[in-house]
Amino acid sequence: MWIYKKSLMYPVKVDSVNPTLAKMLLTAYGGADGELSAALRYMNQRYCMPIVNIQALLTDIATEELAHLEMIATLAYKLSKDATLEQWMDQGLTGTFVEHGQMIYYTDSTGVPWNAGYVQVKNDPIADLTDDMAAEQKARASYNHLLDLTDDPGVMDALRFLREREIVHFQRFGEALVQAQEYFACTNVF
């Protein structure tokens, strides 16, 4: 089960009205390497992990990714909620506005809707953990791309925090992979 806390994981402040930036941020919301994909992937992988502490790691990181998802949603919401109709039109976002109004939606930054094909689950702990490490690096790279494209100080602060968290997760998954390899080396006799 899960318990909701009425607080963001890290404070989110936005210094501009910018629906284009809000749409770019959606890569981290409903994109292939976004937070939704990450949370669902780790949650789903828990059931095949042979070591309980790796089940704990997947649970805790999946939960944190949901907190990241809420930060991204808050950033995109704050960037677009006060935009005028002229801004949506001038920035070439009429299609986005027609489909969802000012509301965020589970797509990537180009409007492609989220789908379960983004979630890698092989029922093989070594394959899954290796893939999780790549997922964290891809999330870090996406945050790098986003940081290249914005100069809003509030958004940059939140993105830097999220990028740092992906690096921590990568480190922890690396440790878990070594533990899983040691586990299989002990229990298998070839």
Binding site: L8, N53, D60, E70, H169
Partner: protein, 84 residues
């Protein structure tokens, strides 16, 4: 939200992050005694600050105690973080 309330919330957020990060570390280092003792000290600090905050401003979690002087159910009446 007043400056004082926001400052308290930021403290709770920061301590919560310390706890979460320590927990991830202990997930892959579950026998690190120093980390466990650091975690326990941080939990005590966290519980203390949460109690102080909730007594003053209402619950951050659904299961939090409703302050005695509260007219309504604060969980349903206080802003969500995207509107802070």
């Amino acid at each position: 939200m007043s400056e004082e309330q926001f400052a308290m919330l930021m403290q709770i957020q920061a301590i919560g992050l310390t706890l979460g990060d320590l927990a991830l570390y202990m997930d892959t280092h579950p026998f690190d005694r120093l980390a466990m003792s650091h975690f326990n000290m941080t939990v005590a600090d966290y519980d203390n600050k949460m109690a102080q905050y909730e007594e003053k401003y209402g619950p951050l979690q659904q299961a939090g105690m409703i302050p005695e002087n509260s007219e309504g159910f604060p969980w349903a009446l206080t802003d969500f973080p995207w509107d802070w």
